[in-house]
């Protein structure tokens, strides 16, 4: 009976890791849709977000049941608490990917991002997706050093955001208010996806060490 409980515990992290793959795909596809004004892909990303929410609720239900019935302690308790928080992070990352897709839908058939600004969005999308993938790997390996490295990747996102702001605050900004608003929102969405990936990495550090890393 205890073995079945431990199998269920192990399955929780497998399911959370599986959710990172779904989010990674959503970030990649929403960025591609944005850069190519691909309404079909954008709609698919938006629709897939509901499925991610259902997956998150299912994992939450399993965590709740294990907490209620098995009275977990020590690393098992830390694991379930960490998983609960990571599921919330992943659901929110999915929402943010859907928000990116909704900007594509809003501006369709026009492209939301002018050609000369696509580079920074492409970079932001790539960094965000890499951080989601890194978070998934860290869930699988429980490698504290790798978890700490995710924060270094987050620094790249911050640099991109600064670069984006510099472009928008330039006095000769030629693209008007609408593009500036879209770009500010998109920068915020990618930055928040990165922040959630950092938060997930911190949960894994807590799971392994029992100590929560200091807030940055």
């Amino acid at each position: 009976m205890r073995d079945i409980y431990h199998e269920h515990l192990d399955e929780i992290l497998v399911e959370v890791e599986r959710m990172t793959h779904v989010v990674s795909t959503a970030v990649r596809r929403s960025t591609n849709a944005l850069l190519t004004a691909d309404l079909g892909t954008a709609e698919e990303v938006i629709a897939a977000d509901a499925q991610l929410d259902v997956a998150g609720e299912t994992v939450e239900g399993k965590i709740f049941e294990l907490m209620a019935l098995q009275a977990p302690v020590a690393i098992e308790l830390r694991m379930l608490v960490a998983a609960l928080r990571m599921v919330a992070d992943l659901e929110r990352m999915g929402d943010l990917a859907a928000h990116i897709a909704k900007i594509t839908r809003l501006r369709y058939p026009a492209a939301a991002i002018p050609d000369e600004l696509q580079g920074v969005i492409e970079d932001m999308g790539r960094v965000a997706q890499r951080m989601v993938d890194q978070a998934g790997d860290v869930i699988k390996t429980k490698d504290v050093s790798a978890a700490q490295r995710i924060e270094a990747t987050d620094d790249q996102m911050d640099k991109l955001r600064r670069s984006q702001f510099r472009q928008m605050m330039d006095a000769s900004w030629p693209h008007g208010v609408e593009v500036a608003v879209d770009l500010a929102l998109l920068g915020r969405y990618y930055e928040r996806i990165a922040d959630h990936a950092v938060s997930m990495a911190q949960r894994i550090i807590f799971l392994v060490t029992g100590e929560m890393p200091a807030a940055q």
Binding site: R2, Y5, H6, A71, P72, V73, A74, I75, E76, L77, R78, D158, R161, R162, F165, R166, M169, D170, A171, S172, V181, A184, L185, R188, T209, G210, E211
Partner: protein, 299 residues
Amino acid sequence: MTNVEPDLDTVPETVGAPGAPHEIHVELGDRTNHRAPSAEPDGVIELRDLEVFYDKFRAVSGVNLVFGSKEITALIGPSGCGKSTVLRCLNRMNDLVPGAHVMGDVRFHGVDMYDASVDVIEVRRRIGMVFQKPNPFPKSIYDNVAYGPRVTGMKPKNMDDVVEQALHGAALWDEVKDKLKQSAYGLSGGQQQRLCIARTIATSPEVILMDEPCSALDPIATAKIEDLMVDLAKTYTIIIVTHNMQQAARVSYRTAFFTAAADEHGQRTGRLVEFDSTSKIFGNPSDKRTEAYITGRFG
């Protein structure tokens, strides 16, 4: 064209939020176990290099423990790890076991409890014990409580007051005040266990030892005893042996984990593995053996 480096810290959290972001002050509470009154136990009872033998069999070895006054300390571990043996050393109950002898130091307020000059009856008056199964005497409720003060030679001015106070202390008075002369055997199991606690505190001890006091009780009676323990800890030092780890987690301030390990002759001897605040033991224990035991992955 501007060359001002944008400062992301000044960007409002929500795009479009009016004005500057509000500064939020959050008072963070003490993250240590809120029940632990002090960082280190004060040592009302101290064990130094404790070893307990039953004839040639070494049941427990190398135990160093410092108990804090007016705290609840839980002793946990698998069967045969020596936790009950250690508990019985704390008021010399092992003296009653043929062949049992103790080496090392057991100190109560710094005094060697096993010194030849120490009065064993006085030790057991000041360090009382509640056992696994409720064991009221075949007497009335009143006489059960009055028994301790009478046999230990206490001469209270008014025994009725002593009995009433002890029954209040054990949260039993309201249930028995109208039937004090009735047999204690008429009480439920949970009431009998609280009567045994009343009998113990009637002798005004400083320390109460409890050896699995709830193992024969249902969850409601268990909850009453647990509430009572927390209440009693305002006045008494409580040391409890329990197999119920959730009970240890719920009621105790500190927890000691014992296990048994085989020596070079294959003889299994109980040893203390880890002693720390209960929140540390159940949240993030230092020793893998503790973690394996409390998560059920032992062995």
